[in-house]
Symmetry: C2
Subunit: 416 residues, 2 copies
C-alpha cells in the first residue's frame, strides 16, 4: 500500500463526534468530565465503546483488573498483537481529552484499517486501561501496571477509595453494569508493540506551532515531603530573635530550592503543590510547616544531583528551626524504543505534519508497557497546555492528525 | 501607714493555692486549662470566686454582659471606685495564669487590705471580665469593651460560637449556674482608676532577670490578608517560564515582607500565622495562595509606615501572578496614664523589686478601660514567655511580688 493510504481513512468528524459522545458521560456544567475510575460513568463509557466495537465487528474482552480490549484480527491469529490505547477515567474535575483521546484514536485506527480494507499480519488491539488517574483509587496507572506485572493484582484489588470502597467491589459493580468477556487469571499477555496517543498536557507544541510531538521518553519523577519544626509563640509578645518560626524557615528552604532548581533550558520541573502550616492561627507564630515537592526530569542523574542539593538546603537553611526531607516516591525515567520513535517521526514527516521530539512531562500508562515490548507515544497539542482542568481543550484537526500518524505506525508495527 | 505595710499582708501561699484551685476547673491532662467564655467551666470559676468573696464579706454583682465584680467598701461609699482585674476565660488549650492571675491578684489585694485592717477612701473592686480570649465568641475583650462603650451590648449578645449558640443564650445559662446580683442596664459605671496585673506572655522579664514589668503601653496591632492569584497547571508538563505559581509568588512577597519588617531593636512584631495554598495537590502548580499578617508596634506611625511598605511589596513582587493585600483589623496603641505608670514604678522600687518599663505585646482588657480613667498594668514573668499554651507556667514568688505591687498601687489610688 502507498504511504498515507490508511491515514487517509481516518475521519476527523467521526473521531470528534466520539469525543462529544463520550464527554456526555460524567459531563460537568463547566464543560469538563467527572468520570472517575470504576464509577457508573466509567461503566457507561465502557458500554459505549463496546457498542461501537460491536457495530464494527471487533471482539471485546476484559481482564481481571478491568482493562478493556477491542481486538481487530490480523492474518496471523497466533502472532503477538500490537496494542494502542490509554484510559477513559478522569480527574474529579477533569477534561474531555486526557486519556480518552488515546482510546478513541486507537479505536479510530481500527476503524480506518477496516474502512481502508487493510489486513495486517498481527492483530491490532485497542485498550482502555483501568484507573490511570489515581484520583479515586491510589496508585494511578493501576491497570497498566498490573498488566505489566509492576503491581500485584491482589494488592490492587484491596485498595480503598476515601469512602472505604475497595477496587475489587467497585470492579464487580462496573463489570456488572458494563459486561465484557473475561480473560481470566493474572492480567498481561505477550505484545509486539505499544503506541499511546495523548494530548500533550503542556504548552510546548502550541508555543512552537507543531502538530505532533514525537515522544522520546517519560521523564522521571520524585516526590518529597519537607517538614520544618519550630515553636509556637505569641505573635504580639515574642521578639523575632526569640522566635523559632517554622513558616519563616520553610520559606527560606523553599526559596533556596526554587533557586537551586532553575536550569537554563527550563527542563527540570520543581513544584511545591501542597503547603500546611500549623497551628494556622493568625496570632500564633507557626510551630510546624510541611510542604510537598514534585521534581521531574528526563535524566535520573539530574534528579539525583538535585536531590542532593535539596538535602543540603534543608540542612543549611532551617536554623533556628529543625527540618527534614523525606523522599516518598521515585519513578525512573522511561526511554522509549528508538525503533518506535523513529517510526513515529518518519510517519509524521511522511504526512508532512510539523513535529518535534520531546519528552513527556506527565506519567502515562506507556511507562509500564515500555518494559514489555517496543513502545512509544504520540502527542497532539492542547489549548494553552491546560489539563486536569474542566477547560481542557483540543481541536478536531489536531486530534485527527495524531490518529493518522497512529494508524500508520500501528500498521507498520503490525506488519513486522 | 508605712510604705509596704499592706504589701506585707499579701500571702504567697494563699494566692498560689487559689491558682491551683482554679486550675482544676477545666483542667486538661497536659496541665493547662480549657475554660472558654460562658462555658460550664467558666460558671464554676465564677462560683468559686463568689464563694471566696462571700467568706470575706465582700459584695459581688454582675452586669448585663456578665462581667463579675467583687467590691470592698471604702470610707466614702459615694466615691468612684478603683478597679482591678482581668479575665477567667481561657484559650481551648490555654494556661493556668493568663487572665486568671489578674483576677486572683486583685482578689488577693482585697484580702490583704482586709487582713491589714486598712480602710481606703474609695471602694476597691476586683473584676473578672467576660470573654477576653475571643476563642469561643468573637471579638475578644468583649466584656471590657462593652463596659467601656466600645462595642454595643445588643450586638455582642447576638454573637455566635461555631455551634451557633449566641452569647445571650450562653450568658443566661452561665448566670443560672453561677448567680450573682444583677446590675441592670448598659454595663459601665464611673471609675477613678484601673490597674490590671498579668503574666507577661513574652520572654523579656525572664531574659532580663526582672520581677516586675512596668507597662507603659499596649502596642497597636493590624491584621491583613494577602492573596496571590496564579494559574493551576500540571507539575510535570509546565515549564517554569510558563507558570503563574501562586505559592512561589506568595513566597517572594512574604520573604520581602520579613526583610522589610526587620528593625534594629526588635520591637516590630510581624507574623505570618495562617497559610492556605490551593488546590493543594502535590502535582499541581498552585493557582491561589493566601496568608495572614499580624503586625504590632507601640507606635501607630511605625505601623502606618510599614503598612505602606507591605503594600509596595505586594504590588512589586507578585508578577507574573496578581496579588492584593487587605487590612482586616486595626487597633491603635494604648498609652497608659503617666500618673499610674509612675505610681507602679515607684511602688515597685519601694518594694526593691527588679523592674523595667515595657510595652505590652498582647492586647488586654486594660486597653478598653484606659479610655475611662487613669489606667495601667503590672507584668510578672512567665516561664520562657510561653502563653496560650498548656505548658504556660509562672512561679509563686513572682505572682506574689506582682500582687504586692498591685495592692500598694490600688491603696494609693483608692486614697486619692
Amino acid at each position: 500500500m502507498a504511504e498515507g493510504s490508511v491515514a487517509g481513512a481516518v475521519r476527523e468528524d467521526r473521531l470528534w463526534q466520539r469525543h462529544v459522545d463520550m464527554a456526555k458521560l460524567g459531563g460537568t456544567p463547566r464543560g469538563g468530565v467527572n468520570r472517575q475510575a470504576l464509577s457508573a460513568e466509567d461503566a457507561a463509557a465502557r458500554n459505549l465503546l463496546g457498542t461501537w466495537a460491536k457495530a464494527r465487528g471487533f471482539a471485546t474482552f476484559t481482564d481481571t483488573i478491568g482493562n478493556l480490549f477491542v481486538r481487530r484480527e490480523g492474518t496471523d491469529a497466533k502472532a503477538r498483537p500490537v496494542l494502542s490505547g490509554s484510559h477513559m477515567d478522569s480527574q474529579p474535575t477533569g477534561g474531555r481529552f486526557d486519556g480518552m483521546y488515546g482510546v478513541l484514536a486507537a479505536f479510530e485506527a481500527l476503524e480506518a484499517l477496516e474502512d481502508a480494507g487493510v489486513r495486517t499480519k498481527r492483530p491490532v488491539v485497542a485498550v482502555a486501561w483501568t484507573n490511570e488517574e489515581g484520583s479515586r483509587f491510589q496508585p494511578g496507572a493501576m491497570g497498566s501496571a498490573v498488566f505489566a506485572g509492576q503491581y500485584e493484582l491482589e494488592d490492587m484489588l484491596q485498595m480503598k477509595d476515601w469512602k472505604g470502597v475497595v477496587v475489587k467491589e467497585a470492579l464487580v459493580e462496573t463489570l456488572k453494569a458494563a459486561p465484557a468477556p473475561m480473560r481470566d487469571g493474572k492480567p498481561g499477555f505477550p505484545l509486539d508493540g505499544y503506541v499511546e496517543a495523548h494530548i500533550e498536557q503542556g504548552p510546548r507544541l502550541e508555543n512552537d506551532k507543531k502538530t505532533i510531538g514525537v515522544v522520546t521518553a517519560i521523564q522521571g519523577s520524585r516526590r518529597y515531603i519537607v517538614e520544618t519544626l519550630g515553636e509556637e509563640a505569641h505573635a504580639g509578645t515574642t521578639p523575632r530573635a526569640a522566635r523559632k518560626d517554622a513558616f519563616a524557615a520553610a520559606l527560606r528552604v523553599a526559596q533556596a530550592m526554587y533557586e537551586a532548581t532553575t536550569d537554563k533550558d527550563d527542563t527540570l520541573r520543581f513544584t511545591i503543590g501542597r503547603v500546611d502550616v500549623a497551628p494556622g492561627s493568625p496570632n500564633t507564630v507557626p510551630g510546624k510547616a510541611t510542604f510537598t515537592i514534585d521534581m521531574r526530569h528526563p535524566s535520573d542523574a539530574v534528579l539525583e544531583a538535585h536531590e542532593k542539593k535539596l538535602k543540603e538546603i534543608v540542612a543549611a537553611k532551617a536554623a533556628p528551626c529543625t527540618a527534614k526531607i523525606e523522599r516518598v516516591n521515585a519513578v525512573a525515567p522511561t526511554n522509549f524504543d528508538p525503533m518506535v520513535i523513529d517510526l513515529v517521526r518518519a510517519k509524521t514527516n511522511a504526512l508532512r505534519l510539523p513535529n518535534m521530539d520531546m519528552p513527556s512531562g506527565a506519567g502515562h500508562d506507556a511507562m509500564h508497557i515500555a518494559g514489555l515490548c517496543p513502545a512509544g507515544m504520540i502527542f497532539v497539542p492542547c489549548e494553552r497546555g491546560i489539563s486536569h482542568n474542566e477547560s481542557e481543550n483540543a481541536v478536531p484537526a489536531d486530534l485527527a492528525a495524531g490518529a493518522r500518524v497512529l494508524v500508520e505506525v500501528l500498521t507498520a508495527l503490525a506488519n513486522r
